[in-house]
Amino acid sequence: MGTVLAQDDETGKRKRGIRRTAIAFGLIALFFYLGFIVLMVLRGSK
């Protein structure tokens, strides 16, 4: 029983790790996508 719980804990930790890494890199991609457009808008509105 104890082993099963430990495994569940491990799986849960891994799932959280996967979710966190995926979201972090998704946000980085979004930042690069919008970043240049925002920069160009700012440059154009000067």
Binding site: R14, G17, I18, T21, A22, F25, G26, I28, A29, L30, F31, F32, Y33, L34, G35, F36, I37, M40, R43, G44
Partner: protein
């Protein structure tokens, strides 16, 4: 051995894999998705190759022969887009799908459904791009770089181009996120970062590059789209915009893209050379740091693609010197590959032959890159066939030979059969000879002043164009051997009876039966297995 094989067969019986079309459309297994990526990449390689044949046919002799100039320009544009985004990048993603989980002891990719989505976007993206050949005004013809204002003059094909680029970008970004997440979270216990095979390392760094620069390309083409349809003037001088700014943004994506295409090849060559030299890789950690340095430098060299647009002297010097700096980590790699072979017990099976050709011919492409980096000289070379020769040396005997080396290296592990060695060596020698007949004369043409992207040329360029075209046709024809060899291997190749297909191979993939079971590493490999398969 027989026991291992029986074990593999036993595994195959209990695969529980779906059958029929559902297996592929709903695929979440990394091996199935990897196979689909590779088949897709192969198909695009032949379609893009057919476009190259049209280009070489038209350039066989001066004067207009077969196609009109607009169609010729569409061929150069589509050939580039198909080969870069349709053939080489999906081939790397296919190899990553197949090999990364096997090499790090993971049961699958971390995000299998996202993996399916990443793949299935691609056929629609390229269907859209290719269907632009049939709309009024023809397919995009302004070059794959899509420089405004020329690109904005495209007809109905323009939004199709932009949308297909967006889809390719989304597919690449999602694929890259999947690779990073898998490597960060699903490595077997004991598989530390500095124990990972170099193919995994180079792919991890490639994935970082993809996540950083593909959105930049998407941003740039979004701005082109709004300039064209929504009255913005990001790149339109008449409205206060700056067309040169597009070039800066495009090459901020474009130069790292070059390394996206080549870094996984560095990884594959770093696996193949030790295997067939029967020696550990010389300087494993130096290879990792060199790869990371190349990736970092790739972000600060972009303007060497556009020296002639005019920029301050300080900027020209900066981009010239930063570009030359890339020769140092690249030199470290070439030195380490060479030193790995030194006093090794070398044999020359097809993967090793392709890896060696890569080593020699990619280096030629690297040297012509250094020549192009020199600002005053670049004023002479800019937009000539010298540039065409340079990047084709990097991408064909570089990236494409890297992919072929990888397929010949891992194919027996994938299908459990050995391919026809004699035919594979024929494939190698024909490719290696004719790739040089095809591209080496283009250096001479460029130095003599022949511009790129033209369907007709002055008569003094005739001889080398004829040689180049003959090389092109022979290279193109010899590529049909590749799918035939693979097909023959799958259908009737000699059974492989060992886990370790190649005597000198190291790595977790060689601890699995051949063919690799449909579900592998359900239980992570033990420390002892990881240590036995450790890369160095």
């Amino acid at each position: 051995m027989a026991e291992q094989h029986a074990h593999a067969a036993d595994h195959a019986d209990h695969d529980h894999k779906p059958h029929g079309w559902r297996r592929w459309v709903y695929a979440t297994n990394h091996k199935d998705i990897g196979t689909m990526y590779l088949i897709f990449a192969g198909t695009m390689f032949f379609i893009g190759g057919a476009m190259a044949m049209i280009i070489r046919l038209e350039l066989f002799k001066p004067g207009m022969q077969f196609v009109d100039p607009q169609f010729f320009n569409s061929m150069t544009t589509l050939h580039a887009l198909m080969m870069i985004f349709g053939a080489v990048m999906p081939a790397w993603t296919g190899l990553a799908n197949w090999m990364v989980p096997l090499q790090i002891g993971a049961p699958d990719m971390a995000l299998p459904r996202l993996n399916n989505f990443s793949f299935w976007i691609l056929p629609f993206a390229f269907l859209l791009l290719l269907s632009s050949l049939f709309v009024p005004g023809g397919a995009p013809a302004g070059g794959w770089t899509m420089y405004p204002p020329l690109a904005l003059q495209n007809g109905a094909s323009f939004p199709m181009l932009i949308f297909s680029i967006h889809m390719m970008g989304v597919s690449s970004i999602l694929g890259a996120i999947n690779v990073v997440v898998t490597i960060m979270n699903l490595r077997a216990p004991g598989m530390s970062l500095l124990r990972m095979p170099l193919f995994v390392w180079t792919w991890l760094i490639t994935a970082y590059l993809l996540i950083a620069v593909m959105p930049v390309l998407a941003g740039a083409v979004t701005m082109l789209l709004t300039d064209h349809f929504f009255g913005t003037t990001f790149f339109t001088a008449a409205g206060g915009g700056d067309p040169v700014m597009f070039q800066h943004i495009f090459w901020f994506f474009g130069h790292p893209e070059v390394y996206i295409l080549i870094l996984p090849a560095f990884g594959i060559v770093s696996e193949i050379i030790p295997t067939f030299s029967r020696k550990p890789l010389f300087g494993y950690e130096a290879m990792v740091y060199a790869t990371a340095s190349i990736a970092f430098l790739s972000f600060i060299v972009w303007a060497h693609h556009m020296f002639t647009v005019g920029m301050p002297l300080a900027a020209e010097l900066f981009f010239m010197l930063s570009t030359m700096l890339i020769a140092i980590p690249t030199g470290v790699k070439v030195f380490n590959w060479t030193t790995t072979m030194y006093k090794g017990s070398l044999t020359f099976e097809p993967p090793m032959l392709f890896a060696l050709a890569f080593l020699f011919l990619f280096t030629i492409g690297g040297f012509s890159g250094l020549m192009l980096a020199i600002v005053p000289a670049d004023y002479q070379y800019q937009d000539t066939y010298f540039v065409v020769a340079h990047f084709h040396y990097v991408l064909v005997p570089g990236a494409v030979f890297g992919i072929m080396a990888g397929v010949y290296y891992w194919l027996p592990k994938w299908v459990g059969n050995m391919y026809d060695m004699t035919l594979a060596k024929w494939h190698f020698w024909l490719s290696a000879i004719f790739v040089n007949v095809l591209f080496f004369p283009q250096h001479f043409l460029g130095l003599a002043g022949m511009p790129r992207r033209i369907p007709d040329y002055a008569v003094q360029f005739t001889d080398w164009n004829m040689v180049s075209s003959i090389g092109g046709f022979a290279f193109g024809l010899s590529q049909f051997l590749f799918p035939y060899i693979i097909w023959k291997c799958v259908k009737s190749g000699q059974r492989v009876t060992t886990n370790k297909v190649w005597e000198g191979a190291h790595g977790l993939e060689w601890e699995l039966p051949s063919p690799a079971p449909y579900h592998s590493w359900q239980e992570p490999p033990s420390d002892a297995v990881i240590a036995r398969g450790a890369f160095h």
